[in-house]
């Protein structure tokens, strides 16, 4: 139980949740409009790379973040075009983007910066400790020395919930993901709404990638996402395609990973500890969360018969 009183456990929980929550919420936007998105991994890598590159070139990490968002938006636009306009298989496209993202970032890294990685002088986004938060007893453990993106994430959860469930555009996006034909008969522009969802998803995934490269570090490395895009996919489903759910799942996974990290170094074999986050996820899913149903038209291209 002393483990639970370790501030590092809780700081790590929040910190490790960020690169899952952004893409998971991003995926929520995409899938709520009916486009299955498993391209988060590739888009995160693209975001992570351009964040560092532009942060280095301009000397301003905020411009780096902006570049990540633009790059993520562009890649997801390409994905959206093929998924929506060409009605290509969305899962295959997603995998293609993942290959592409991993390859292009490695290629650019090596041709522009060489094999040793990005320059160490690259500026990173600031770490912030709000005294008001950091001095609260238990809460303070969470908010000690966190990246600004942590706070952005908390804001994002609330804003995207409001956006999806309390705005006209949000309602329309969800309608398109449930029954595009019905939405079409009501005069909604199905394709445009889907583009919107996918591109928002790409931008958010890219921020998740940027968190890894200039949020907590200041460098890019090949495959530095290490499968987080796929875990984010799971977090999105776990969270039943809602922002709060996705965030909750990301926190759970962050907690389990952080717990594993803290427990490492004891006598328990590291591989068994490494199973912890995954095992906990299954238990939580089976025990607490139960059935989650995708938006009804998720993954089905909409081709009006015109």
């Amino acid at each position: 139980m002393t483990v639970l009183a370790n501030p590092q456990l809780w700081a790590g929980t929040l910190s490790l949740a960020v690169p899952l929550a952004f893409p998971a919420i991003g995926g929520t936007f995409s899938e709520r409009t009916g486009v299955v998105n498993i391209a988060m991994e590739g888009i995160m890598l693209v975001g992570a790379f351009f964040a560092v590159a532009c942060s280095h070139w301009t000397g301003n990490p905020w411009l780096g973040l902006l570049a990540a968002m633009v790059a993520g938006g562009l890649v997801s636009w390409m994905f959206a075009w093929a998924a929506i306009r060409i009605a290509a298989d969305q899962v295959v496209l997603g995998m293609a983007i993942n290959f592409f993202g991993a390859g292009i970032t490695a290629f650019l890294l090596n041709t522009i910066f060489g094999y040793n990685g990005t320059p160490t002088s690259t500026p990173a986004l600031p770490m912030v400790t709000f005294p008001a938060l950091a001095n609260v007893p238990v809460l303070g453990w969470f908010f000690h020395q966190q990246s600004v993106l942590v706070y952005l994430m908390l804001l994002l959860v609330i804003v995207s919930h409001w956006f999806l469930f309390h705005t006209r555009l949000g309602l329309r996006m969800r309608a398109v993901g449930e029954n595009p034909l019905a939405a079409d008969t009501l005069g909604l522009n199905v394709w445009r709404l889907r583009y919107t969802g996918v591109i928002i998803g790409g931008v958010l995934s890219a921020i998740g990638g940027a968190y890894l490269s200039i949020g907590i570090l200041n460098s890019f490395d090949v495959n530095m996402t290490d499968g987080r895009g796929y875990i984010a996919l799971a977090a999105m489903i776990f969270g039943k395609w809602t922002p709060f759910g996705s965030f909750g799942a990301a926190l759970l996974f962050g907690f389990a990973s952080s717990l594993g990290n803290v427990l490492q170094g004891s006598n328990v074999p590291t591989d068994l500890i490494a199973m912890l986050p995954y095992a906990l996820t299954i238990l939580a899913l089976a025990g607490l969360v139960g059935r989650s149903t995708a938006p009804a038209a998720d993954g089905i291209p909409y081709l009006p018969n015109r």
Partner: protein, 502 residues
């Protein structure tokens, strides 16, 4: 206008004109091309040839958005609803109150007002997915009225309405007509057409045959015009010769998928050689009851005996094998695997037994022969067993299901809404088939929201209200008024119950 789909010309140089303030009915057999024409007008399909003129000007609708902008409203035959959203969300979608924020409260208010105005009672906050199809029909109608159309298209709006609701709808239509709004109205119910329409256009096999004024035309004339031959509208049947009890339902209680109790202790018996009609307003537990008899819902109290045997706890497969056939209410969701071809769909309930399979191996050839025989016998069109069920028109889908269930030679046939959305010709065929089965000594349990159907076919009629059997009356003496009263929960001894719909 012309519109072709791979393999069919659904609309072949169709002409139609709609005058200010008229109600114009379209009649035609299933698959004649009515819905296709409506979708062309609504911008949902693009014509291969031809054009639309609106108020003296040619218009071109690239999508429903253009049509809506031009003031066209439509009630779709297959509902265009979003099950995960609420009634209010569905009605206002595309024209929601609020600026950026969606003013949900205002939407609910507007929908409530609308539903009161048109007397289509509905709870605006209910999820569509939890509503019966009858209630969904109301939502679909409310959607069209919400938008205040200049031209209104109604594609079989009354298929699931009660007579009272239909009358309310007609009131609205007459009102619109008085305001000069032209209405296109599709229905297979000839009485309705005669009651509301000014002119009628008959379609056959994708072509417009004729446009005639309704005044003076009899139902028989319309029917003949539409089918192209003489149709028997009234069915003559011999008196029933009831045999032993086949189905014995004893104080059965059923909870639905929503965990609510829908059937609260119902008892009745069905004999061989009789048609037992189960009448009731939609949502009173009749469909849960038959689902439970077929084994798709668990019985939470009471017992079901079939052929002298307690089947309360048998699996659906075992009940099928024991000789129960079931035509479920929702043909697309329950009755068919739309992606399967007709061969696979005709053996859907019998693939386990010979000759269709042996020790786990499917035998394609007997299945193929069987399917070919059935679609021949039941006149399924097009006559191609390799078509996917989803590519058939709704009427033909229904025929496939009926063919499959009848051909199994069951002891008990349960049919729910067997003629929903079918044309008169097809209805005639299905009704004949049901009576033939009865005369062969089978037990038939008929559930229908169509009072006329119940009255014309049933030997005995049970009326269900709020999950309870109000009364069971003989079919030959029953009247519309008597049954209609029972359906609202007024018991024969005069005691009334609160009227509920959901």
């Amino acid at each position: 206008m012309t519109k072709a789909f791979p393999g069919v010309v659904a609309n072949d140089h169709v002409n139609l004109s709609l005058r200010q303030g008229e109600v114009h009915a379209i009649l035609g057999e299933n698959g004649a091309g009515k819905s296709t024409l409506m979708k062309l007008i609504y911008g949902l399909y693009q014509p291969d040839a031809g054009e639309i003129w609106l108020e003296g000007r040619p218009v071109h609708f690239h999508s429903p958005r253009d049509a809506i902008r031009a003031g066209i409203g439509m009630v779709h035959q297959h509902f265009m609803l979003i099950p995960a959203l609420s009634v209010a969300d569905n009605v206002v979608l595309g024209d929601e109150p609020g600026k950026i924020r969606y003013d949900r409260r205002e939407a609910i208010r507007r929908v409530r007002a609308l539903s009161e105005q048109y007397r289509l009672a509905i709870d605006p906050t209910a999820k569509i997915g939890s509503l019966s199809v009858g209630l969904q029909q109301r939502v679909e109608i409310l959607k069209a009225f919400y938008r205040k159309a200049k031209v209104l298209i109604l594609d079989e709006p009354t298929a699931l309405l009660t007579p009272q609701e239909t009358e309310e709808l007609f009131e609205v239509v007459r009102h619109l007509k008085a305001e000069g709004v032209p209405v296109l109205f599709i229905s297979h119910k000839l009485d309705e057409v005669r009651a509301i329409a000014d002119r009628v256009t008959v379609m056959r096999a994708g072509k417009t045959v004729e446009t005639v004024p309704v005044a003076g035309a009899t139902a028989q004339e319309l029917a003949n015009l539409m089918v192209g031959r003489d149709v028997v509208l009234r069915i003559d049947k011999k008196p029933a010769e009831p045999g032993p009890v086949v189905l014995d339902v004893r104080d059965v209680r059923v909870h639905g998928a929503d965990k609510q109790e829908h059937v609260r202790g119902v008892s009745f018996q069905v004999h061989g050689g009789e048609i037992f009609g189960l009448a009731g307003i939609d949502g009173n537990g009749q469909f849960e009851l038959v689902d439970a008899i077929a084994g798709l819902l668990r019985v939470s109290g009471g017992a079901v005996h079939f052929d002298g045997r307690d089947i309360t706890h048998l699996s659906p497969a075992d009940r099928t094998t024991a000789g129960i056939s079931y035509v479920p209410q929702d043909r697309q969701l329950d009755g068919l695997v739309l992606e399967f071809d007709l061969v696979e769909n005709t053996i859907l309930r019998d693939f386990r037994r010979r000759p269709f399979s042996r020790a786990g191996w499917l035998n394609r050839v007997p299945a193929l022969r069987y399917a070919e025989r059935l679609i021949e016998q039941f006149d399924v069109r097009p006559r191609n067993v390799h078509r996917k069920a989803g590519e058939l028109s709704g009427g033909n889908q229904q025929k496939v299901i009926l063919a499959r269930e009848v051909a199994r030679d069951p002891k008990l046939l349960i049919v729910a809404q067997p003629t929903r959305g079918l044309d008169v010709g097809a209805i005639e065929g299905i009704h004949r088939e049901l009576i033939r089965l009865r005369d062969e000594g089978k037990a038939v349990l008929l559930v229908s929201l169509e009072l006329d159907e119940i009255l014309s076919l049933s030997d005995r009629i049970g009326v269900i209200h709020h999950g309870e059997m109000v009364d069971i009356v003989p079919g030959d003496t029953a009247t519309r008024e008597q049954i209609g009263l029972l359906m609202t929960g007024v018991r024969p001894n005069g005691a009334t119950e609160e009227v509920t719909n959901a």
